[in-house]
Symmetry: C2
Subunit: 429 residues, 2 copies
């Protein structure tokens, strides 16, 4: 049996793009784990009639479960509970014990701002203690409680009401899935297997061709739900299927591996960042960055535990910084330019030496919009990965896109070069 | 007259959160500029029935304009044009001239991948040349053309069909707004003024209280459409209104300025990043980063032209790197720890000296999840902004949130400290 869900994200700040929604994607993953099929995400502003319309749309689509995010704050534009209570036909009433628990949370917080009027703050938080009849309260992780609102008389879907801040939403979600009302709503969900193939350095249309070949050759191919997408320069092929179709999935993995041996870098869902982190386990790394200005080191440091191998790095934006902090010979810059394979190699060698690292990565380029020339247009980027044993890999490319895209893509290519070098592929001395 | 629009974002990769949607927010801004009121954003996967349901929902909500993003690629899961053609009752037909133009685009691209079968690639791109009857073609910026599909017989909304990659979508949007069909759809839109107040270091509930006071005191307050939100630790108050309500907007700005003099840092919509960039115009800056590992420098470098003042920086993740590359006295680390105001001050002083900068910022902290202690729990972060004239500002805080949030919030606080120091506020020697 298939259980379907919809996510309603509220907030004018999300609708107008001033805040990026992180909850829809996160909830999507959690629903997948539970075998619940997410059909729709909708985003509305703080206008109650628009939110009401979206809830009705979800009900018309016969979803079994709606999850709302946001609109539980103390300000007048936070209207989610009112709208959900109306939708489910369950009137709101003040829960005085909950109101007191919220007050207990607020009191110590207020000490950070000693000038505030505690009673005024408490009054503006009273509306957060209004509960629809029959709903289960999810205790606040910040100041706003969540709710699981069971179906009304018209057999509407169950509604899980969660706060907008991602950390709070995630904590309350864990409480929500344990409630009786939630379990009833998702009873009978059919868990699907999901797996991911990742390729780098190949156009998406080439994968389309491989999928057409797979359709002809692989028995049971039609039972695989496949989506492909291009993401930060990588092609991602995600396959979902019921357990019984596992053989077709294995055959697909084999076919992609045969046809794209050199570009398939992950068949177990691992990302290049995860692979590089593993390969760095017994190594130490330092960075030397110009156009990426620290993004490469910051990306390496995203992973908990990265301090075991990341020693540090030099951001050498100005030419003098390349000379002073990485020991680049000024003549190299004069002869070849600060954006050149030679400069990248000198920067990488300097990073290995000055940080005493076993491997380094240098990136120097022209991110734009200014600074380009006929010879070296905007988007020209040079990389060097250098090992302390003297082997290295150097690349120079012209990347498409704007300043942010060039800088971001530069770190992805850097990651793939690191992966190859750490695996001992394609090295030059 | 009010013109309403809806945005339909397609793609299982967006619905499942593997790709973050950047098009909804971007389109939202463009619509606002045109005075078009964006009511709904919906996201669906690659299932045609779900997309069809969302288009119908938008029509029921009586939007005048629907913009779709994505689903125009060469793979079989790219179904947008088929669905939109069905929705508008306008059958698809192959546009042979367009097919040839796409082939002309593909040919040079294929040179990057000389092993590919050109005919196979071309076949998989043929579907991109199918055009709904009566639609206006928007020439491809990548390989996929867009379309402006006029209302069908049932008075459906106009549909603007755009590709998913943001750069392509943006280029085709500029062509779309020039078409006759688009102009007719948005005729009569009522341009609203929008402005933003930003505050830092204040809870959102305090602003709620100020808005309640404003409601009592300011004539015409009800004509202002106000949304507040907490974003990267800042409170953002966005106000939209018709020209006639400008006086109420001025009065609101004055009231917020009076009540929140020390926390209101922007009343003209400028961000702290923009203000810092302006303040750095005649300065030079270097960074010294531990837990943020380059994110602070990368944030400074996001702005075009930042090379005029950003000299570079040292990422000193390991203690030895702090000593070797920033000249931190090992005794300071031994006595106070690598995460201490003293270490931050030594790092900042080292950055000013070693890069010859007029100002520097140092950040050292425990981003977690490991590395915390009773004395210095996860989230403990120390900052120092140092000027070459010897003045400086040092702060130490415990931040909430996970590793990514602590690192991100650390750069925001760093930006605000830089702003204050560069404005000559709150300095110590």
């Amino acid at each position: 049996m298939s259980v379907r869900a919809g996510v309603v994200v509220t907030g004018t700040e999300v609708l107008t793009g001033r805040v990026r929604d992180r909850n829809g994607p996160w909830l999507s993953d959690r629903l997948l784990e539970l075998g619940v099929d997410l059909a729709h995400i909708t985003i509305c502003g703080d206008r109650p009639e628009d939110m009401r319309a979206q809830l009705r749309f979800m009900a018309q689509q016969e979803v079994d479960l709606i999850i709302t995010s946001g609109g539980l704050g103390p300000t007048a534009d936070d209207l989610t509970l009112e709208v959900v209570a109306g939708f489910a036909g369950r009137p709101l009433a003040l829960d005085e014990a909950l109101e007191q628990r919220i007050a207990d949370i607020l009191e110590p917080l207020m000490k950070r701002w000693p000038d505030l009027d505690f009673d005024a703050v408490r009054a503006s938080n009273r509306k957060q203690a209004m509960v629809p009849a029959g709903a289960t309260v999810l205790e606040p992780a910040g100041t706003a409680p969540g709710m699981v609102v069971p179906p009304g008389e018209g057999c509407e879907p169950t509604v899980v009401v969660l706060p907008g801040p991602p950390r709070e939403l995630q904590e309350l979600w864990r409480a929500a899935v344990e409630t009786e009302a939630f379990r009833e709503a998702v009873a009978g969900a059919d868990v699907l297997e999901q797996s991911t193939l990742r390729l780098f350095g190949i156009p998406e249309s080439e994968i389309a061709e491989t999928l057409r070949v797979a359709e002809e050759r692989i028995e049971g191919f039609e039972r695989l739900e496949i989506t492909t997408c291009l993401r930060r320069g990588e092609v991602e092929v995600v396959v979902r299927h019921q357990r019984e179709a596992a053989e077709a999935r294995v055959a697909l993995g084999r076919l992609v591996g045969e046809r794209h041996e050199h570009t398939l870098f992950s068949d177990d869902g691992s990302t290049v960042d995860e692979q590089v982190a593993q390969l760095l386990a017994d190594q130490t790394i330092a960075t030397a960055e110009s156009c990426t200005a620290g993004s490469m080191a910051a990306r390496l440091a995203e992973r908990p535990g990265s301090s075991a191998y990341l020693l540090g790095g030099a951001i050498a934006y100005a030419d003098e910084a390349k000379v002073d902090h990485l020991g680049v010979d000024p003549e190299v810059i004069e002869r070849h330019g600060a954006v050149s394979p030679e400069a990248a190699e000198a920067m990488a060698a300097g990073a290995v030496e000055r940080f005493g690292a076993t491997v380094s990565i240098a990136i120097t380029g022209i991110a734009g919009p200014g600074g380009g020339s006929d010879d070296k247009p905007v988007g020209t980027v040079c990389w060097c990965v250098q090992r302390s044993d003297g082997t290295r890999m150097t690349r120079s490319l012209r990347l498409p896109g704007d300043r942010a895209e060039v800088r971001d893509r530069s770190t992805t290519i850097g990651m793939h070069m690191l992966r190859r070098v750490l695996r001992g592929e394609d090295l030059a001395v």
